[in-house]
């Protein structure tokens, strides 16, 4: 390999794209490390506290695209308090100072401020793409800076962020000379939208392929937008509470019929059922459909739509579709690869007979041979069903089952669901992500440790009996990267059994378990490359260090590997041991 000049090797490396592969080739020898680092354009950082921006830039000076993730996954469920961390500003400041030619920034679960966005917009002349997922801390003023200053902007994709909508005119801030947009997603903005400015923007963006509107864009505006963007591939519609008048409806249908490139449809935050038929003409082309926010649409209307979507590969839906609806999906969508069924009734208040059960899951597994990813919220499950699913679909990569009631057993046999999940991990040899629920003993973890050889991420809640459960997983799943556990009886013995293991993982989360302060201190003692964070929001429990009781249980423990030591931006209620 060293017979080739560096330029040739670099050219070969251009074909190596995945992060894992590039990380591997950089380990081969010093010369390859050097060539790789200087040619690397895209860097992915799964935990923003594992490294700091200075070291990142030092190693990859030619970086063009950066992906950063901040808060742990359970922050999505309000388990991580505000101000915990994940601030992007220091990263943008460092990148700006070093004159890195940043073109793309993708952030997930980070705190982004208007100041950061303003700095971003002014510091990188070639900046093209901003993707923010589940972030917070900014307002439409920040978006205005991006619109106004990023002359080469192609992509502005805001997914499920908490954005303070100042109802300003951020859409007006795109200059008339901006014609390069390919993707614009502002579905999560809650306020009014300047529809005229939006229409002008879409009209001058001939390359626009993806457009996702927010609630505030009315039906007639949608028709006009689609008319001037028939090249759209991905559309997110707004909210249409009222039945459309026949003329508006006809205009909408005409516009939709022209969008023959449309492959992906989402939005429908509140939709009067009679608006749906306008979309029937393009259903046969759809490969992705997200109706998971359409709480008002009843099962039978959903079914009528889905029956036309024969090429569907990805479906996100609410459980109001019912088992009956899932049988229709199983009969119709033979190309289905990913299914997510969300609960329409999150609080368990209504006695919802339309929700889905094990029947729907089995039907899908039997009817959709290409299914590899599933997220399924349901009221009940049985071992027999899970065993059948495992037999029908041995190709699962992601299997996330959430039975709404914690500790719920097999509703027919009243046994634990150990055998059902055991069948899943045994059959699905490529399983990389698993979430378990229902009544589970240590036995399920024995199975997981034994069979889930490719498992990288495991989510456990209200499960297990003793430390053995957690130990089976840590000892067995050699590829584990992220382990998150809540409300399960695992304690210090499991936590401390193999401290070195945690450096092979990205992170471990344990909340409402049995680990104590003493155990965590012991863990942190000889682990300079781990940050062990104790999150304790209850002020009354925070005692002086000489008064504290090491036997006290730790509310929330979050530990992660890092090469840059303790972070300096933690709030007072986070203690880093």
């Amino acid at each position: 390999m060293n017979y080739f000049p560096d330029e040739v090797i670099e050219h070969v490396f251009d074909f190596v794209v995945s992060h894992k592969d590039r990380n591997s080739i950089s380990l081969v020898c010093k010369s390859w490390y050097k060539i790789e680092r200087c040619s690397r354009k895209e860097v992915f950082i799964g935990n923003c506290y594992a490294i700091n921006p200075e070291r990142l830039i030092g190693r990859f000076p030619c970086l063009k695209s950066l992906t950063l993730k901040g808060k742990p996954h359970f922050a999505d469920f309000n388990l991580v308090p505000h101000e915990w961390g994940g601030f992007v500003l220091p990263w943008i400041e460092a990148l700006a100072r070093s004159r890195v030619g940043l073109e793309e920034l993708r952030l997930k679960r980070m705190v982004v401020t208007d100041e950061s966005l303003e700095l971003l917009s002014r510091s990188f002349a070639n900046f093209k793409s901003l993707v923010l997922v589940s972030c917070e801390g900014f307002t439409t003023d920040g978006l205005a800076s991006i619109a106004a200053n990023c002359r080469q902007l192609r992509e502005l994709d805001l997914q499920e962020n908490e954005i303070d909508d100042h109802r300003g005119q951020w859409l007006n801030c795109f200059p008339d000379s901006c014609t390069t947009l390919t993707s614009l997603n502002f579905a999560c903005l809650k306020g009014e939208t300047n529809v005229a400015a939006l229409e002008r923007l879409v009209a001058r963006s001939p390359n626009l392929k993806s457009l996702k509107l927010n609630r505030a864009v009315p039906l007639d505006a949608l028709a006009r937008l689609m008319s001037c963007a028939p090249q759209l591939v991905d559309l997110g519609v707004g909210s249409y509470e009222n039945e459309p008048d026949p003329e508006s409806f006809a205009k909408l249908m005409t516009a939709i019929e022209k969008c023959i490139s449309l492959r992906s449809l989402s939005g429908f935050l509140e939709v009067a059922p009679l608006c749906l038929p306008a979309f029937y003409p393009i259903c046969q082309n759809l490969i992705s459909l997200n109706l998971s926010y359409a709480a008002e649409i009843q099962g039978n209307h959903l079914i009528k739509l889905i029956q036309l979507c024969k090429r569907l590969q990805r479906l996100w839906i609410l459980d109001s579709i019912g088992d009956k609806g899932l049988v229709v999906v199983a009969d119709t969508c033979k190309e289905l690869q990913e299914l997510r069924v969300f609960p329409s009734d999150v609080h368990g208040e209504e006695d919802n007979n339309a929700a889905v059960t094990e029947v729907g899951l089995v039907a899908i597994s039997a009817g959709c041979p290409k299914l590899h990813s599933i997220l399924y919220f349901c009221k009940q499950m049985t071992n027999a069903a899970l065993i059948a699913v495992a037999k029908n679909c041995p190709n699962f990569i992601r299997f996330r089952l959430c039975i709404l009631e914690p500790h719920k057993p097999d509703h027919i046999t009243s046994q634990s669901l150990d055998e059902g999940f055991g069948a899943i991990v045994q059959a699905c040899k490529g399983l990389r992500r698993l979430s378990v629920s229902g009544l589970l003993t240590d036995q399920v973890f024995l199975y997981i440790g034994m069979y889930a050889e490719q498992l990288e991420m495991l989510s456990i809640a209200f499960a297990g009996d003793t430390d053995k459960g957690m130990l089976y997983v840590l000892n067995g799943c050699k590829k584990m990267r992220k382990l998150e556990i809540r409300d399960s009886p695992f304690g210090n013995a499991a936590l401390l059994a193999d401290v070195g293991r945690y450096e092979t993982m990205r992170s471990l989360w344990m909340s409402s378990c049995e680990v104590t302060l003493g155990g965590c201190k012991r863990l942190a003692q000889n682990s300079p490359r781990l940050n062990v964070e104790i999150i304790n929001e209850n002020e009354n429990n925070r005692m002086e260090q000489n008064e504290e009781d090491e036997r006290e249980k730790v509310d929330k423990l979050y530990l992660y590997r890092t090469v840059v030591g303790t972070r300096k931006d933690a709030p007072p209620y986070v203690r880093i041991l």
């Binding site: 998971s292 008002e296 969300f342 919220f377 210090n492 049995e514």
Partner: protein
């Protein structure tokens, strides 16, 4: 391996049948959620009933559906989705129900049910209770002499001084409340009090 001081008695093997520990686990959950309730109000939001507010009937295992759902962060639906798929989350429906209340100088927000107050006096009393601060009530009733002003965001997104309009109109249009220092209020862009200023 040394076991002293690790508190391993907590992790001792238990040989009970599966399901036996449900009562114990429910109790732990209740204690946990009560602790959350006292420390931080910012985890709850309009749709999530994730915090138990009742005093402390910890011994009883409550099997009602409402209790089952009142565990923080369960079911694991991300908070953005909870807020946006809740039927009350529509921007056109405001007023009755819980609104966020913020107070300058207090690092966390509170939620209160406007529907449970009978009028401005009631509201003043409730706000006092919420923040444990005597002055707010005075701010509402006799604005000029107080350190604080009580303002609210209405349906149109404008910030208005509380107390001007009839109570019924107020609760129909109030989306959130803020107790703000009078000294900060001057540049804030409040709508004028009335024609006869």
């Amino acid at each position: 391996m040394e076991k002293e001081g690790l508190g391993l008695e907590i992790t001792e093997l238990r040989l009970g049948l599966p399901g036996r520990d449900v009562a114990e686990k429910m109790m732990k959950k209740r204690a946990f959620t009560e602790m959350n309730m006292t420390s931080s109000g910012s985890n709850s939001d309009q749709c999530e009933s994730g915090v138990v507010s009742s005093g402390g009937d910890v011994e009883k295992v409550n099997d009602s559906p409402a209790a089952k759902s009142q565990v923080v962060g369960w079911p694991p639906v991300c908070s953005y989705r909870r807020k946006n798929s809740c039927k009350e989350a529509s921007t056109t429906k405001v007023g009755l129900g819980y609104v966020k209340v913020s107070m300058d100088g207090v690092p966390y927000l509170r939620k209160m049910d406007l529907g449970s107050s009978q009028g401005y006096d009631d509201l003043a009393f409730a706000l006092d209770k919420l923040f444990g601060f005597r002055g707010i009530g005075v701010a509402l009733k006799d604005g000029d002499n107080c350190e604080y002003v009580t303002i609210y965001e209405d349906k149109d997104g404008d910030w208005m001084l509380a107390g001007d309009v009839p109570w019924g109109m107020f609760i129909e249009s109030c989306k959130r409340l803020r107790i703000m220092k009078r000294s900060d209020a001057s540049g804030f862009g409040l709508q004028p009090r009335g024609v006869d200023e």
